[in-house]
Symmetry: C2
Subunit: 212 residues, 2 copies
């Protein structure tokens, strides 16, 4: 039992160290000995848990995808319309990208030409945003003439941009920027009957959630 | 004279081949012999023009930055307000990203963790968009309460997103998507007195420019 707990902890440390090294050096140059040293485990333990760098990268991607899915589920439980959900989840995601190297690496591995993975969180997230906006259109939440496709590309790209800013800490006010982004986008995006009362949800700005 | 012309042509072929190989394999794994073969020149000629991979990458970045600057100068000559210029240039840039591997590689090298360059076109473009939106705010072109910072991040990230779509050819309608993006953004971004009559300029959709 103790051994199992230790194994889980070791895997987690390896995944986090791998995420950091992938972000710093890129997938191609990331070195397994550097990763195991950073995780504080032996190279033997690394090879026991992850026989190849590819498997380690897949684990980073799977963990990142699961983290994005948890944000969606958590916010989705609150009810509310599709656009409100999108506003809340995007704020949470930017906040999470600022602090979670595994989430960040999961997104960035897909854009690393030496990796070219289609299994990361980026694809799942992009499809979720596209689907949500198409559904919002069907539910009459979008302004007339709005293209859910163009809106989805803009939202996915902008969230990635705010996430990069947040993680570089060059702009510490990124949660505020995400709010301002939505204030900018919603007049053109939302049908007049679906303007949102609260933007974004409290969780997106990192404060405790109060009942709505 | 003939020799000079040939040298210019060889450099250009090498820069284009390098851009394609960087995009396919990433900077770290890009191989100089593969680049020279693709350019149809000897490895000796490659080393004569570019003694290192770093110098070749710098040339790709410089060529890409110059291409973006040319778009800005060309559209800027037409007069009109700052927002109209931004709409026109962004449409041109997405169209150019779809067809120009050097431009694309210039932007992507900065995001390649094995390269980490700060000299590519991305930085220049981002600073130009930020500056333009701050000036537009000063000139009263932006709606009240709009953050030029948040708008700039959204525009820079979205243009990159539309450019990636366009280059992958998964969505062939990317010029139309850029128009729809602006139709989405402008109601929140532009002051009511500065709503634009034409969105975007004809060049952005790839048709011939007619006098305005």
């Amino acid at each position: 039992m103790v051994r199992q707990v230790r194994a889980v902890r070791t895997r987690r440390a390896l995944v986090r160290a791998a995420a950091e090294v992938f972000a710093e050096d890129g997938y191609a140059l990331a070195s397994l000995p550097v990763i195991s040293r950073r995780a504080g485990v032996s190279t033997g333990a690394l090879h026991f848990h992850f026989p190849s760098k590819d498997l380690l990268a897949r684990e980073v991607e799977a963990a990142a995808t699961a983290a994005v899915q948890r944000l969606v589920v958590r916010e989705g439980a609150g009810g509310g319309g599709g656009l409100q959900l999108l506003v809340d989840v995007s704020g949470d995601l930017v906040a999470a990208l600022a602090v979670d190297p595994v989430l960040r690496a999961g997104f960035e591995l897909a854009g690393d030409p030496s990796r070219k993975s289609a299994e990361g969180p980026g694809r799942w997230w992009s499809e979720w945003v596209h689907g949500l906006l198409r559904e919002a259109q069907g539910a009459g939440e979008l302004a007339r003439g709005v293209s859910p496709e163009a809106a989805a590309v803009a939202v996915v790209a902008s969230v990635a941009g705010f996430g990069r800013l947040a993680s570089r800490q060059r702009v510490r006010s990124s949660p505020r920027l995400v709010e301002q982004f939505w204030a900018l986008l919603l007049p053109g995006l939302a049908a007049p009957s679906h303007r949102l009362p609260v933007l974004p949800g409290p969780r997106a700005t990192g404060t405790d959630r109060t009942p709505r």
